[in-house]
Subunit: 328 residues, 2 copies
């Protein structure tokens, strides 16, 4: 796969499919945040998307294009929990049975909401099992269509609608986007956003923010080849604990990503506490790394207009309470 088939036109087509189905999430701004970093931060609040993350966009864009017979047979996905919810909700819209392969230690809020949308959950051990090896035989046996969490053109183009909307919202404010910072796991959101930004906002620099230990995407870009993370390593950023950039996403990222920031668990937690106190928004650790990259100064914002993706907010109450105690 070369990635050549991910196009700005494809992102526009996805936006047309998602119109009225996805939440047109607000682009938020805070005077206190702007004053703190000395720039203009525009936050694309995908935590307010259906299921609390951007993932519904790509899942819907993929499932809506399946033929009717396939929709009846159903879909399958593996996911740490946000993609799972997006797939479950999109599948429900089309009456497609959904099977989700999820780590047993996924946040319970994520599992609860996957069940809420009527999907069947099959659990695996994140540190021992190969989730693909579990999912593939089930998919074949049941004739299910795979909805990959990042490495599929329809999924990438669906996620790219985040940047298309943000660019339109920024333009309505009269703002020119200097930098666009994306929370990056497998790179689906980044690849989609970078693809559409190249067309609609070519002077915007795309940055990725990754959690410590799972910062293999920026390392891969610098090395010019896909490197692999040690997936036995612990991180509070469960949503971004991806082993490697995708075969389809990597060539796009390599060409279009300008820089990367590696965010520690402490920085992610501090950004969550900041969002709680001053923005009144609930971020999960993996959804806070772009904000953390800006708050920590790892991605400079002084004198610039920077879009930051707030990509997910599904965090369990006990972890959030612990973070508030330590960082609030």
């Amino acid at each position: 796969m070369s990635g050549d088939n991910v196009t700005a036109a494809g992102v526009r087509a996805a936006a047309a499919r998602l119109k009225g189905e996805a939440v047109l999430t607000p682009l938020l701004e805070s005077d206190m945040l702007n004053e703190r970093v000395g720039g203009r931060i525009l936050m694309k609040a995908e935590i307010l998307q259906h299921c609390g993350s951007f993932k519904f966009r790509g899942a819907y864009n993929r499932i809506s294009q399946l033929d009717d017979a396939q929709k009846r047979r159903g879909v399958i996905a593996w996911s740490s929990g946000n993609h799972a919810q997006g797939v479950a909700r999109a599948a429900r819209i089309f009456g497609a049975p959904a099977t989700i392969v999820m780590p047993a230690d996924a946040p319970s809020l994520k599992a609860e909401k996957v069940r809420y949308y009527g999907a069947e959950i099959i659990t695996y051990d994140r540190y021992k099992d190969d989730r693909e090896a579990i999912a593939r035989p089930i998919a074949e046996e049941r004739g299910l269509a795979l909805v990959p969490s990042y490495d599929h053109v329809d999924v990438i183009e669906g996620q790219g609608t985040v940047a298309l909307e943000a660019a339109e919202q920024a333009a309505a404010l009269g703002a020119k986007i200097d930098a666009f910072v994306v929370c990056c796991g497998g790179g689906g959101l980044t690849a989609g956003c970078a693809t559409i930004l190249e067309e609609v906002s070519p002077n915007t620099e795309v940055f990725i923010a990754e959690p410590e230990g799972y910062d293999e995407t920026w390392a891969s870009i610098k090395a010019g080849a896909r490197l692999t993370a040690d997936v036995t390593r612990r991180t509070i950023c469960d949503a971004l604990a991806t082993p490697a950039p995708g075969a389809l996403t990597f060539p796009i990222l390599k060409r279009l990503v300008r820089g990367g920031a590696c965010v520690t668990d402490e920085e992610a937690a501090a950004a969550m506490a900041y969002a709680f106190k001053y923005l009144k928004l609930v971020l999960e650790p993996g959804g806070a790394v772009a904000l953390a990259a800006v708050l920590s100064g790892k991605i400079p914002a002084r004198g610039r207009t920077v879009v930051v993706t707030l990509s997910g907010g599904n965090v369990d109450p006990p972890l959030f309470a612990t973070i508030l105690k330590q960082f609030g």
Copy 2:
């Protein structure tokens, strides 16, 4: 004071003054919330307003109309903390010194942000002192203009822009508002909203939600006379612990409010936990009572389109962590 001088035209004039100054806060919707209550809930997210509550609107509308000499002398307000921040931020815009009389036990986040915006804080004991008796001599001595937290036409008309915006946003969605539920303390937000709704959405029923022990406004409306709450009573809803409806707000409320709900601390806390888990929004107790009234069924939403004000989000991390442990 009769309240007759609060007008829909005044709310429109306030909206013109606030354009580009206040955040046009989003009207949010959640499929899970709609499914739970069996209706359509549109949430006016004033937690995303400057300073984390609607209070900036009224404060700005009042201070912007002071003459230049008065702006130079400055303003004074008493407040449990949200109005204080709104006044401090609005005063800063006009270069007006701001003095705030605040309870010593106000949430520390509220005090921190008042100081951030450069106001001077004078503290008092919420359960013993008369804040007016403290503030009035200072105001006279320094020649400060009072910015009342609810009982002033400019303040009420400023707060009314919440409903004007919500009505326009609902109309853009093609939604007809059956009910509009307001978190109610002294009644400034309710009076302003009810006044403009009478013109732009005359079939909308206005309801108030009040915390237990401070539900004297609905009791006053039923009694036809202003009753007083026992202000020594504890509540987690600090923002709504007001002794009585205002002299100016009460006649408006009496004429235009259709019903009231009394919300317990437990129901407010449960609504905060719900907003955390499913809406990804941070609500303070007093800002959660309208949502709590709908979640508890005290204000019926089945088959109806209901606007709920999320009026404030300034809650200290330790209290929030405790609530997450108990209700999350």
